[in-house]
């Protein structure tokens, strides 16, 4: 069956499980607001440490755990699922495996992973491993959910046949399979392998969480939304595939760059540093391809989904080049352990990944005919987040340099804490536009007239039925055949 033959409204209607898109979209934004609240509280506790009166469950460490795990699983996980329920059927011309399975996956992800994970961490059950702070019992459900996600989303690709897969499909397949493989490296292995040896495995997952889970799914969104919203094919499918394979080759080899100048063998460190440098080259390839595909749309495209995605592309370039630089020994020895790295991770998760996820959500929301859609709120969300990210990342980067300089000097340790304070105040201040942006995002998804999304599409890129967008995502070669 060719994709074009599905281009009649009757066949299209049941293809995308819009209710699952909707459920995950709302869950994403709700968990996002909760995770951001944890983050804001943690940032305020650095300014006023006794703010919350020091009950154990509101202590800084536990809030910090819940903040990042909430972003990783709650916000990005749900946003990615919402996107997958939209994209996988359009990319394959087939439904996902089962709507019932979808309801189980939704329940498992939100009510067996995110919610109990949060509660357990606050109650004092966790593991002190980065990007793996939910306790081991939760990890079991994560693995189960990842297996269910594979069962849910991958069969349509195999039924369709894997020839001439569009690059988004590759990223989706890669992300789901390799996240499942990488997850135990950071969550189980360090509990069984001690000290420095365990840290080597931890390093793998710290980078794989970003490199094999967040990045591929975010890129799947960028590669999907750009052609769908610009109504032009991607600039180069060759570059797409080159970028994809280089990414899956290089990302996993980055892990040890979190432990430079440690006792972990220098050859492993040098390998990871080299891979980090090459990764920047790969990202330049990927981003060049994406930006050339975006040409003519302007720096701030009128379609808000595309606008988020375009900015995500730019953030992706900046954060990756920054990553390549900060992995180099001369830079790393100074800025490692400082707020520079916190700025970097916010540029990655709040800049690149969140803008991709928000762009993906806006894009799929526009195409749910019965969903409410508030274009003005989305506009506000974009500009508030744009301002917030830039303020926060700039501020934390400077803070990191200030801290690094003091650490290299003979100044007492506490001087670096005192010097960071003004920057921490600005960082907490940057949470105002960020949180306001997320509230606007929530309003964008839940207020406004039903079906206003399609009107927004009509206004910005011309109304086009959802099913007509799909064929444009297929590689050029398949159109010729």
């Amino acid at each position: 069956m060719s994709l074009r033959s599905s281009a009649n409204p009757a066949a299209d209607a049941p293809l995308v499980e819009t209710r699952l898109v909707y459920a995950h979209g709302v869950a994403a934004i709700v968990t996002l607001l909760i995770a951001v609240t944890f983050g804001i509280l943690a940032s305020l506790e650095l300014l006023i440490p006794d703010l919350a009166g020091n009950p154990a469950w509101l202590s800084w460490g536990r809030l910090r755990y819940d903040h990042t795990q909430g972003i990783l699983f709650g916000w990005l996980g749900n946003a990615f699922f919402a996107f997958l329920y939209h994209a996988v059927p359009l990319l394959t011309g087939r439904r996902v495996t089962s709507a019932r399975l979808g309801r189980w996956l939704f329940g498992l992800w939100n009510f067996a992973v995110v919610a109990p994970g949060w509660v357990l961490v606050l109650a004092g059950f966790s593991q002190p491993l980065e990007w793996a702070e939910f306790p081991v019992v939760i990890d079991v459900f994560v693995v189960l959910a990842l297996v269910l996600a594979i069962i849910q989303f991958l069969p349509p690709f195999f039924w369709r046949g894997l020839e001439d897969l569009y690059v988004s499909s590759w990223y989706i397949i890669g992300a789901l399979i390799f996240t499942l493989l990488a997850y135990p490296m950071g969550n189980f292995v360090p509990e069984l392998v001690p000290g420095a040896r365990g840290a080597a495995f931890s390093g793998l997952w710290i980078h794989d969480a970003v490199g094999l889970y967040v990045t591929p799914l975010a890129l799947a969104i960028l590669y999907f939304v750009i052609p769908a919203a610009t109504r032009r094919p991607i600039f180069s499918h060759f570059l797409s595939m080159l970028g994809f394979w280089l990414l899956f080759f290089l990302y996993p080899l980055n892990g040890t760059h979190h432990y430079i100048f440690s006792v972990i063998p220098m050859n492993a460190q040098i390998g990871a540093i080299t891979a980090s440098a090459l990764l920047g080259v790969d990202v330049i390839l990927v981003v060049t391809n994406l930006l050339l595909s975006l040409r003519g749309s302007g720096f701030f495209p009128r379609d808000v989904g595309l606008r988020f995605v375009a900015m995500s592309t730019v953030f992706y370039l900046i954060v990756s080049i920054q990553g390549s630089i900060q992995a180099q020994m001369a830079v790393n020895q100074a800025i490692h352990f400082s707020d520079w790295v916190i700025g970097h991770s916010h540029l990655a998760m709040l800049g690149f990944a969140t803008f991709a996820a928000a762009g993906g959500l806006a894009h799929v929301w526009q195409r749910i005919p019965w969903a409410r859609y508030n274009a003005r709120a989305f506009d506000w969300a974009y500009w508030l987040l744009f301002a917030g990210v830039i303020l926060m990342v700039t501020d934390l980067t400077i803070a990191g340099i200030v801290e690094a300089r003091l650490w290299q000097s003979a100044a007492p340790w506490l001087d670096s804490v005192r010097a960071a304070r003004p920057y921490w105040i600005v960082r907490s201040g940057s949470a105002i536009p960020v949180a306001a942006g997320f509230i606007a995002l929530l309003l964008g998804l839940t207020t406004g007239p039903r079906g206003a999304g399609l009107q927004a599409v009509e206004k910005t890129i011309g109304l086009e039925p959802v099913q007509e967008i799909a064929p444009r995502l297929a590689p050029v070669a398949s159109e010729a055949s």
Binding site: S59, F125, A196, L253, Y259, A268, Q333
Partner: protein, 405 residues
Amino acid sequence: MSGGRFLRMSYVVASVCGVLFFAMSVALLGIWPGRVLEDETRRMSPPHPLGLSTSEQRGRAIYGREGCAYCHTQQIRYLHADMARFGAPTLAWETRFDYPHLWGTRRIGPDLSREGANRSQDWQLSHLYAPRALVKDSVMPAYPSLFDGSPDRPRQEARDLVAYLGSLGRARELAGPEGEAHARAGCNCPNDEMAQMAFHGPLDASPARALGQGAVPKLSAAGNLDRGRELYAHNCSGCHGSRGEADGPGAAGLHPKPTNLAGHEYTVDRLSTVLWNGIAGTAMPGWRDLPGNDLASIAQAVRTLHTPQQEPTLPQGILDLGAKVYAANCTQCHGDHGGGDGSAVGELAIPPADFRGGRPSVAESLRALRNGVEGTKMAPWTGRLSEAELTAVAYYVRSLFPEAQ
């Protein structure tokens, strides 16, 4: 198989490659380094390094649960900046008991790899209970839930956590110079400049660690008083109190109590020694991370906390009685001339008062004689000395201060 079909099957090749990429990353950055580290541990570890007690293991779990590793690393890098602040770089064998590792990737507070001997237990407990009571500008979370309402009443969890903190860096310290030599021989890396860094410099470089002895710089007697008062307010007043009356918010949980600075008159030399070395066995840390002129300023500020009072003219009989009582009872610890250097000093965990470096007020002197000094070997003397004798010796020790003579 036709070329076209082969091309279409290329995704199979690609998928196999993809899995291999991942397997390669695990092999190169996980399994292989693990092997090397395991081998290194076998070669360099002392044969029976001291692991963690049950209480320390429980403390470790609390450390993990509260996210301590997200502000305090436990990994000193092979970098001079790290070594100057914290000490010798972390060796693989030192981490052999760490399930899971607590290396951390962010330092808001200092690295704790060698924290064990840096601070006294009472300091750690008080600091966990209310960090800003002791370290005014700290941003560390307080953990009152580990206590029953006061730093003096730690619950099991607080004791476990402090026990764990006390274990940090212990195994390598206990291994001693022989352990270092063994590790160096096991490393067998005379030409590896970086690996050699692990064996250079002090094991623990923390400026807070109290030293028994140390080359103490002579501080200038002319510090900047305003600067000194500012530094005192930020660094000292938490325990010693804003007027030096040992009534700071951090004083409550400390044993012995912080010194009443207002009740003593100090020589600059004595203050130099205490500021530089700290007082071993007590919560008084060293302040070697402050520049010399700042230390001089603090000394200056401390000296002004004491208000000189009109000295009574004492009948010679009282001083004679005091000298007799002192010679009979006090010299073993406090020394013949009151320098805190008696023959028993080596057996005392906490050094006895040095009357030549600090002159207590009569009230301070009498209080110590009557009540003893909690947490030290100084016992109350009320049962053994008459009131006249107590008074006499209280005055006598004041006369030992060189500037009084």
